[in-house]
């Protein structure tokens, strides 16, 4: 949703007819072109809707948490601490029944093993998942872009050193690496995020480097050098923008992957710690109640599933939309 509104915002000032020039033709690169292609591609559009919806839910949760101090979620939130004697635990969704009791309207998706409302926890989990997904990807993207661009642009021994180091990171199974990292620095969500971000650096590094190596030889880079442009500006203004498309696709997929990995880590006890309402942590807590109260594990699972699928089809759609060989 937020992405969609960005599209229309971006189009209004330029789509005008006042210029009179042949503005039918658009550049086959750049942000506006990307957004236009995405709108024309059905898969990418569905992905956009899912990701947009999840972003909206996450923003809603953040708004409720920071600005309204649980005011909205309070309606569905049952706080066991206020009523320790009368906790309604492991209730099923409304209209269903299990050995612990009948589903009630107050808790539309039921409650967990401490009597907390599943719907509000799932909504709050969206915020954590999206934050983790985007920040971990940002770390990987940022680190990988800088390393890959420097490595590809300068070549020589700089390239060798940087590539060997990142390959070493790549060679270690990432889960082992992240767990080792968290054991050393701390077991909470922040380090899970940083750890996953670091394991993503080699992926972006390789992608960027391969693009930089070919774009470095383009005449407009040579022309920029001959005009006295600084290396830094050449890399950031001339080379990286031309590597935009494949990186965007990879970054989108990486958000989904990061969410999945961090959920997995939380499930293993690394990452989000109770009582943080993260999906992975909720799944972890539900392990013991799978038979008597299956809905406890099903809803966070579905949330993870939908989010990751959303990012994956958005990524696939972007890939098709940005592939110059496919005419649609």
């Amino acid at each position: 949703m937020s992405i969609n509104s960005a599209t229309s915002d971006d189009d209004t000032p330029d789509g005008g007819d006042e210029s009179g020039g042949p503005d039918e033709v658009e550049a086959r690169v750049g942000l506006r072109y990307t957004l236009k292609q995405v709108r024309q591609d059905t898969t990418a559009r569905i992905g956009t809707y899912i990701v947009g919806f999840m972003t909206f839910v996450a923003v809603f949760a953040a708004f409720d948490y920071y600005v309204l101090d649980y005011a909205i979620a309070e309606a569905v939130l049952y706080n066991p601490e206020t009523d320790p004697q009368n906790v309604r635990r492991l209730l099923p969704p409304v209209g269903m029944e299990n050995q612990f009791g009948q589903g009630v309207l107050e808790h539309p998706l039921g409650t967990d093993h401490r009597g907390r409302d599943l719907l509000s926890r799932t909504i709050y989990g969206t915020r954590i998942a999206m934050t983790v997904g985007f920040l971990a990807t940002a770390i990987g993207l940022g680190g990988g872009t800088v390393i890959g661009a420097v490595s590809g642009y300068y070549g020589g021994w700089i390239d060798d050193v940087l590539q060997r180091v990142t390959e070493t990171i790549y060679a270690i199974p990432f889960l082992v690496l992240v767990i080792a990292f968290m054991t050393a620095f701390g077991r909470d969500l922040t380090f899970a995020m940083i750890g996953v971000g670091i394991t993503a650096i080699p992926v972006f590094n390789r992608l960027i480097r391969s693009r930089v190596v070919s774009i470095r030889e383009e005449d407009y880079v040579e022309a920029a050098r001959a005009a006295g442009v600084k290396d830094r500006n050449i890399i950031f203004r001339h080379i990286i923008p031309n590597s935009f498309a494949p990186v965007l696709v990879q970054a989108t997929l990486q958000v989904g992957v990061s969410i999945l990995i961090v959920a997995g880590l939380s499930f293993l006890g690394f990452g989000a710690q109770p009582p943080t309402p993260s999906w992975g942590q909720m799944l972890s807590a539900s392990r013991g109640y799978m038979l008597p109260a299956p809905t406890f594990s099903i809803f966070p699972g579905i949330a993870i599933l939908i989010t990751v699928i959303g990012f994956n089809i958005l990524g696939d759609g972007l890939q098709d939309a940005l592939d110059p060989r496919i005419n649609n």
Partner: protein, 373 residues
């Protein structure tokens, strides 16, 4: 004549490849004076482009300038000296990389590349790129730079520059883009513009328009040009003086009229014979036999002897340096061919080599093949 604007002395640029050392530019010397268009002519692979990127010190690894001297307006762009151990090192007064970037490239010496299709960044608008170049090199603020950019676009004949300013390079035709590149080069008001085959990728009518425009602008701004080309007709059209290159060397150097009407080197004559001329009627054009030998292992003696119709035995042995052959009081006209009496190495007595017999396309290849030296 006054001090030259740019003076290149014995410039040597080599590429160190796995197959051996490629002597792309092998000891060339030439001057460019103020307000003059100097041609650099030769076949593909003669070393023209390497020579021009050497002037801006833009030669990339594995290439390296290994010798010679480049001076521009009294400043040393490149120069070596021997230190106490006899090792060569850059001279102290040689401009640093930083000074090159800030003061010389773009500001004093601009370059126009061969392929206008590839020389503009596809991601940014034409105007944005032009403005960036002006901002970097002329210390203007963005608004002034934009105005200046639009003025320059108008100057090089782009219609409706205000609206074309916001368009992307792919919305421009080849000729238009070349005009934009020329605008970019001129916008920074450099003293010297290196034009590296700027019209080769364009068709002849557009080429004509561009040449006309360059001549006009050159008169207006009094900029000097080094015009790199393989096209003798372009040379005749715009150059004042010409350097003919063959296999990394300058083999003839003359004012443009002298070069065409009083040709001193067989290679230059061969080049001229291989193209139609309005002032001469021939039954058949005569192409130059064979291909240019590899610069990795150039032939001994005169480098052109393997393809030269006038080659004699002595050409295999004697390597001629260009010498001034002009009469007293005439402008300099140098050529590197031993057939002229000034060389006096016994050309007239030497038996001719039959280059045609052993000729064809293998003529240029030497026996040692790709062996390193």
């Amino acid at each position: 004549m006054s001090e030259p604007l740019l003076s290149v002395r014995d410039l040597k640029t080599q590429f160190f490849t796995e197959d051996g050392t490629v002597r792309a530019v092998d000891g060339i010397s030439f001057d460019v004076h103020e307000g003059e268009i100097v041609g650099l002519v030769g076949e593909s692979g003669a070393g023209k482009s390497v020579a021009t990127s050497s002037i801006l010190r833009l030669v990339d690894s594995p290439g390296e300038i290994v010798g010679g001297e480049i001076e521009f307006k009294g400043e040393t762009i490149f120069g070596l000296e021997a230190d106490d151990d006899g090792e060569l090192r850059p001279r102290d007064e040689m401009l640093t990389e930083n000074e090159m970037r800030k003061r010389i490239r773009g500001r004093e010496i601009a370059i126009i590349f061969q392929d206008p299709m590839e020389s503009l960044n596809p991601v940014f608008t034409v105007g944005g790129q032009l403005r960036e170049f002006i901002e970097i090199n002329r210390d203007l603020d963005p608004d002034e730079a934009k105005e200046e950019a639009i003025d320059m676009l108008r100057e090089v004949g782009i219609p409706a520059p205000e609206s074309r300013y916001d368009e992307y390079p792919h919305q421009f035709s080849g000729g238009m883009r070349q005009r934009v590149l020329i605008a970019m080069a001129l916008a920074c008001q450099p003293d010297l513009i290196i034009a590296d085959e700027p019209t080769t990728a364009l068709d002849v009518t557009v080429e004509g328009e561009i040449l006309e425009m360059v001549t006009e602008l050159q008169e207006k701004y009094d900029t000097s040009f080094i015009w790199v080309t393989h096209d003798m007709s372009v040379v005749a059209e715009i150059c004042d003086r010409v350097n003919v290159m063959y296999l990394g060397e300058i083999i003839e150097q003359a004012e443009v009229d002298d070069l065409f009407y009083d040709t001193k080197h067989p290679y230059t004559s061969a080049l001229l014979d291989s193209m139609p001329r309005p002032d001469r009627t021939v039954d058949e054009l005569r192409p130059i036999e064979g291909v240019m030998p590899e610069a990795i292992d150039p032939p001994a003696g005169c480098r052109f002897h393997s393809r030269c119709p006038e080659a004699r035995e002595v050409c295999r042995e004697v390597h001629p340096e260009p010498r001034d052959l002009s009469e007293e009081g005439e402008p300099r006209h140098a050529a590197a061919c031993v057939k002229h009496d000034a060389f006096d190495v016994g050309y007239d007595e030497s038996p001719p080599i039959d280059t045609r017999a052993g000729g064809g396309f293998s003529a240029g290849l030497t026996e040692t093949g790709g062996e390193a030296e």
